[in-house]
Amino acid sequence: MSTNSQKYRNSFLKEVEANVEEGEWVKMCMQCGVCAGSCPLGKHWDHPPQEIFMMIRAGKRDEVLTSDSMWMCTSCYNCIARCPRGLPITHIMHGLAVYSKRLGLMPDNQPTAEFGQIFWDNLMKKGRVNELKMGLSMYFKDGFSQGIKNAMANQKLGQNMMKAKRMNAMEIMGGHGVKSPGDLAKIIKKAQEIEDGNIQDFS
């Protein structure tokens, strides 16, 4: 993919600008590295934000979009607060993650991505998050026996939450939801249509 004719040219930068939320900011990075130095989880990232921006300019499309890095962002906003050029770095990271998922390029078994999917599926059922079911889905995402192990490990926590009325065991029966889940689905569908319509094809 990265032949010399694409390297250090504008093609991928233009794609990011068109299809990634806040992607038009990437060109304004001046490579000072303050974001990389500010990220509390930076050492766990393969590529800190500064490098991601440089890779975009270098035309490393596959490497960027298959990267684990932008999924590591915990939205602490330290980088945004410090960026001397005012780049919304956190939002760009999430934008890149969303775009890589749209293209199906995100890494397999990425925990943040899996959590995101479970959350979304849970939310879409009734229009509100069912925390009990949400928790159980997370416990059992890696199979039945692992789920039992996870549940046993957190048994005490669950009991205390129920005692303190922070969690309702009856939610397992179906739980509460928005008044008109059908209307919500229509809204979401329309929003997705708009978003899909805005995406430009660069493949």
Binding site: N4, Q31, A58
Partner: protein, 749 residues
Amino acid sequence: MAEEKKMAGFVCTGCGIGERLDAGQLETTATRDGKMNTCVQHEMLCSKEGVQVIRDTIDNDGATHIMIAACSRRAKVEAFHFPEVAMTRANLREGVIWVRPDTDENKETTQEMADDYIRMACAEAKFSTKPTKSGEQELDKTIMVVGGGITGMTAAMEAAAAGYPVHLVEKGGALGGRIAEYYKVLPTRSPYAAPQESSIAEMAAAIEADDKIAVHLNSTLAQTSGAPGRFSVDVATESGSTSNFTCGAIVQATGFTPYDANKLPEFGYDKSADVVTNHELEALAKAANGGPIKRPSDGKEITSVAFVQNAGQCSDEEGKLAYFSGVTDLVSIKQAMYFKELNGDCDTTVLFNNLRTPGAAGEDFYRAGQEAMVLFSKGIVSEVVPGDSLTVKFKDLILNEDTEMDCDLVVLAVGMEPNSGPDPYYATEGEGAPEPGEEANPNAVPEISVDSILNLDYRQGTDLPQLKYGFNDSHFICFPYETRRTGIYAAGPVRRPMDIQQARDDAAGATMKAIQAAENAGKGMAAHPRAGDLSYPSFRKEGCTQCKRCTVECPFGAINEDEKRYPLFNEARCRRCGTCMGACPVRVISFENYSIDTVGQQIKNVEIPEEWDEKPRILVLACENDAYPALDQAAMNGVEINPWARVIPVRCLGSVSLSWITDSLNNGYDGIVLMGCQRGEDYQCHFVRGSAMANERMSKVGDTLQTLNLEPERVVVHEVAITDIERAPKLINDMAETVEKIGMSPFKF
């Protein structure tokens, strides 16, 4: 001076002087020891009444020499301004009472100090005469500007606007210089968002229409002789005709030459027509005539460009420029924007190591470039491989990998080299070789074949002396436009690399200085740093041995030789530093109010107590530009100075005569402290070479000390900055400790 000397002393008792010192005794000292005809006290000499007392003494009693014992000679200069007489000042305030503690046990030594300063000032007055202008000068308001580029054109227009006639000399066939070849220039106004048209055409038209400006095209300077106020210039035209005019001062705005990219074989400049310099790209953009910029090799419309920053500059490698040219990063951003403007969807990549876009304007323009999708990558280019599509190999410093990219055109951001003439002090052998004692400039650019620009008819070379990399030497902090040739001012990229806006500001500054120099020369006054000084050096011809040291060591090339090989002082070229006086082994050079005697007699008139009094005497010769003000400032802060010290300000350490040192050692001084400015590459000497010269001469003092069988520690030379307020007094006090350690001088009579 046959006319009779009438000497009058004045002792001020204000500012606490009267309370701390016995003014009656000071008066007695002035009249008895100092041989003043009269001496009076006043409780506030700088007041209207006090000044009137002095004025009356001059006007009614015919005083020709006055001695004012009050504050430092740097204080109250407006009140004590009597140009019609020879005047000296005894520094009782900053020099004595403010640096000594007010206690009973110190009263005696404090009074001794004050008495000595009175004796010194009286002796100095006795051996001074009133400086008067020589009458050699006439006012010539004409300014010559050398170079018809943006800097020279601006200089000419500024001078003309100030009412001074101008001769503008340009080597080429048209005005405009390099900028005339440019497609567009950097923006000069907010929002600094896009390149703009240059104003060269309008400027050329304005100069054409201005009858104060005479333009000499296709012309060079065959010879420039004379001095500020009376330069005589022979101009030679290409066709062979010559003309002559006179001028009062000169602005040299000869600009720069782009670095020769042929010296960069790694970037394929000599192999591919599609590797161009930033200067050549301007021509390509101009030739495109509003259409897309095309490749030089095959005329293809360019769709991708790589800019190689710092090509041949900011490098330690042999043959490359060691400095950054200041503007080349902004220029590449500007040129990348040409492609965004003219070539539609063209990719532009700037490969930089350190991107320098100085100032708010630079930052705004950088952002504008980024917004226009100019791509910036921190990388160091190692090679450009020629081919149908050029391959640029580089190391990406952010991703830390060796990589490469393809593009249609490569632009090399090469630096600027000054268009200077040959350095007078460079030549090491043959004609123009330094005389014995004259230092060859170790930093001079090894370029032998450079043509002279000014063709100065000076003893010390044809052009402006250089500091480094071919840029001319100036005191870059205090006097940026100055050169080491009085009345000749450098402006624009010949002085240091700069952009158009800076060059225009520079031109205005240098022009103002040139006007000032012409005016001062007309009045017989010195240019900075002794601006307004009317004194000038003269020499006793019968004593001169024609050793040539003065002509060689003058930092400003002020002294020529006449037909009989005697020194020929050019008063208007002189900065009045006295380096010639310090150089003269037979002591024949002097100024009216500054000579071997005015200082030598001060040294001799200090009372040296007998050895068993255990009161040593330390002579301090302090440069009046930095060390003396530092001592004054220390006094204001109440820093204590040893009571044995006697401080004499000198114009420059370069003016210090070795005879003063030997005389004071013979007279029984126990220690000598010399305080001058920093010397060497980052020199701070106001007279450029004075401090270095002094240091060289003082290195020979060791022999004198040896003959006298004295310890070498008794004479020290220090570099003192104006900010050394704590350190300067400490250096003096250190000498007192040294004397205590090694004992008193045996030469007391």
